[in-house]
């Protein structure tokens, strides 16, 4: 029997939507199935910072390419996606962090990402609300901000316009060997199945090396002009936040509405959506230590979301060893909004057998199976404070 579909995408977060759009654009018969609707998972909880990150060369390659793809798309994005290129300021507190600013600038320059060093005075002029006496910052002008649920909805709309079919309110209970089954008894046979369930991926593939990593965000009322760039600290270098423990970092984003999103926190082992008050407090204290005036703003809502974390902080994109029908598109941790577009390209290239825009191997899931088995151990150095 020939499969009814070329591609079945499980999950309509921003990653699934981007995959569907690329598949549909290549003429593949594509169906997307989501337990809820478009963009209601981590995509609805994230910050929407489009950011070039250099924790590893592979991460930089993926984020830089994605950033470029977002800029290419930007003229087409409707107003509600709120895409803006405000730039990121990586804030350095002292000389040690200024050394990191210079190192980062070098790495970015080599990868073709323009970045400018601000000294203490220039930083104070650019962001008067920051505390006095900071050493400087690295400005990355091409970094941007968008509103993720609207971006996911637009990508999905494009996919549908090109022939994809969207099925909402159906939970997938099994998706393997070319067959997707849902909780209401429906079956979808497909040549390829794209797993794009974000942090819920292990529900369908228990062996996935993905763990839920909870984050808190606070949104304020409207204070236009309070800050002008996405502000992120470089202090994570010294506070030695490891991938194994809970951590917080200063990360504040001005929204087009004039609201501020305040992040960020990371914690493992928290499976529900309740608030961890001590962690929330630590996160806001961190923010207030950089922006002393922030305590006087009104918070409108506090929420949590789940990142899909992998042991090496790179996503899982590509074939799943042991089942030729499955292609993974998950494990994007705190960068899935940024890297959704590149993920869509890589997935479509894999399915079509095309040569992708960047080498795809660093993201292949097989990397975890080649290493010695057992639970993947965290091996990582300090990590950046991105969303």
């Amino acid at each position: 029997m020939t499969p009814a579909w070329d591609v079945a995408v499980v999950g309509a977060g921003i990653v699934g939507a981007a995959c569907a759009r690329e598949c549909a654009a290549r003429g593949l018969q594509t169906v997307v199935i989501d337990a809820a609707g478009v963009g209601g998972g981590a995509t609805a909880a994230g910050m929407g910072h489009i950011v070039a990150m250099d924790d590893s060369p592979a991460q930089l390659a993926l984020t830089r390419w994605s950033q470029e793809l977002w800029h290419e798309l930007s003229p087409k994005l409707p107003r509600e996606v709120e895409f803006e290129s405000r730039g990121t300021l990586w804030v350095a507190a002292d000389e040690e962090e200024m050394a990191e600013v210079r190192r980062k600038q070098g790495v970015f320059a080599a990868a073709g990402v323009a970045a400018e060093i601000l000294d203490s005075r220039a930083l104070a002029e650019a962001e008067p609300q920051l505390r006095k006496g900071l050493a400087g910052a690295l400005l990355v002008p091409a970094d941007g901000v968008l509103y993720p649920p609207a971006a996911a909805a637009w990508l999905m709309g494009e996919a549908i316009r090109m022939g994809a079919v969207m099925i909402t309110s159906q939970r997938v209970i099994a998706a393997a060997r070319g067959l997707v089954r849902t909780d209401n008894g429906k079956e979808y046979s497909a040549k390829r199945i794209v797993h794009a369930c974000g942090a819920a991926g292990t529900d369908l593939l228990a062996e996935l090396p993905v763990r839920k990593r909870r984050g808190h965000l606070v949104i304020t009322d409207r204070y236009p002009g309070f800050v002008h760039h996405q502000l992120v600290e470089l202090g994570y270098l010294k506070s030695a936040h490891s991938i194994a423990s809970d951590s917080t970092a200063f990360n504040v984003q001005p929204r087009q509405t004039g609201q501020l999103l305040i992040g960020s926190s990371r914690e493992f082992g928290a499976e529900d959506s309740t608030i961890n008050y001590p962690l929330l407090r630590a996160m806001l204290q961190r923010a207030a230590s950089y922006l002393p005036g922030i305590g006087r703003l009104q918070a409108v809502r506090v929420w949590t979301g789940f990142r899909a974390a992998t042991p090496d902080k790179l996503p899982l994109i590509g074939p799943w060893p042991g089942d030729d029908s499955i292609c993974l598109a998950t494990g994007h941790e705190g960068l899935g909004i940024t890297t959704s577009l590149a993920t869509g390209r890589l997935v479509a290239s894999e399915i079509m057998g095309e040569k992708p825009g960047i080498p795809a191997e660093p993201y292949f899931p097989v990397r975890f199976l080649e290493a010695d088995h057992g639970s993947p151990t965290p091996t990582l150095y300090g990590e950046a404070a991105h969303g």
Partner: protein, 436 residues
Amino acid sequence: MSREFDVLVVGAGPAGIAAAATAAESGLHVGVVDDNPAAGGQIWRSGALLPAAAQRWKARLAAAGVVRLQGWRIVDCPEPGAARAERNGAEITRDPESEGRRDLRYRHLILATGARERFLPFPGWTLPNVMGAGGLDAMVRGGLPIAGKRVVVAGTGPLLLAVAAHLTSRGARIVAICEQASAAQMAPLMMQVLRRPGKLWQGASYRWATKKSRYLTRCWTVAALGDERLRSAILQRDGKQWCVECDVLACGFHLVPNTELAALLGCRLENGFVATDERMQTSVPGIWCAGEPTGIGGVELSLLEGQIAGLAAAGKTSAARRLAGRRRGALGFVRALERACQLDPQIRDLPREDTVICRCEDVRLGALLGRGGWRDAKLHTRCGMGPCQGRICGGATEFLFGWHADSVRPPVFPALVSSFLEPDAASELASPKEAL
């Protein structure tokens, strides 16, 4: 700054006053937090000539030695047994860090958070001088001059009559009272009201006080007209429409219970109201609920429930049980009220595609059509994402689309970021003697 209580009451309307006074009279250390400048809730506000019952209860509250935080608001409950209070409007006080916030600890929590008006959108409802009927009523009690103004009161329920009567007594000219329900639909309620003279809603006397104005059933406002401010309203009855000139349009489509704090605390809701047992205990032990959040039933029932909760929290079970029997008898009124205020489906058709539904975020009806539910609409249109967090538009979208607001998140009301910055309430407990 913090303080420990045996019983902490949230809300000082009739239910909260009764709960706090009763619990304190039983010898407990009681605190009550209310976000208005004075105790009294929706109906017993200062400035009005208070009925005898109100004066009695306020005197009892004062005599019982209840600690009162008036003009404060519970914004969050960060852990079991702890509530965070913030001064209402703390953003504008000079030193919010030290003065605007308090941590309160409790053994029992009584939620008496009342209800708010339901607003329903129609073209022009966002014009200046179109306001909530209860809101206008409170503003007039607070000193807003209304004498000589032409007022249309529209919506549903006995609240309209109460407001019209009060405004009349302040010299307003009531152009029309538009009750969307039919006379037949209202009849059982009015019978109940008449059967209990001098109690509940006193509908008959309200009716009498406003008899010079026009009380129209099956009638509603189709549109409000004006440029910078309201000039006239188009009314409709039995398919016929006409225009009346007016200075103020006071609207109220019954009440929506304030259940956000209960939901945040994990209390079970049933059909939109807080579920309680006979003693007014919610599904969470030690958390009690009284008054409108358990069902819209007016002052008398709120007082009863407040007393039951206060007694039960104080462990006076048999006294609470006696009152619970009386409460059962009064619950018929809740159902009569609910049936009387059932909204005519035609009212769903009033807003046009360009009519604003969510005022905070300026979301219009057209953007909401075809959305899958509250969360879907919220994520993709920003409806309900503003400072009011769906308090206003949620009541409208519930009626228009049958959507139910999704999860409640802290803070319950917009709160200073610094409210989340402070260390644990437990670690900085002040001595109980410290003045609040």
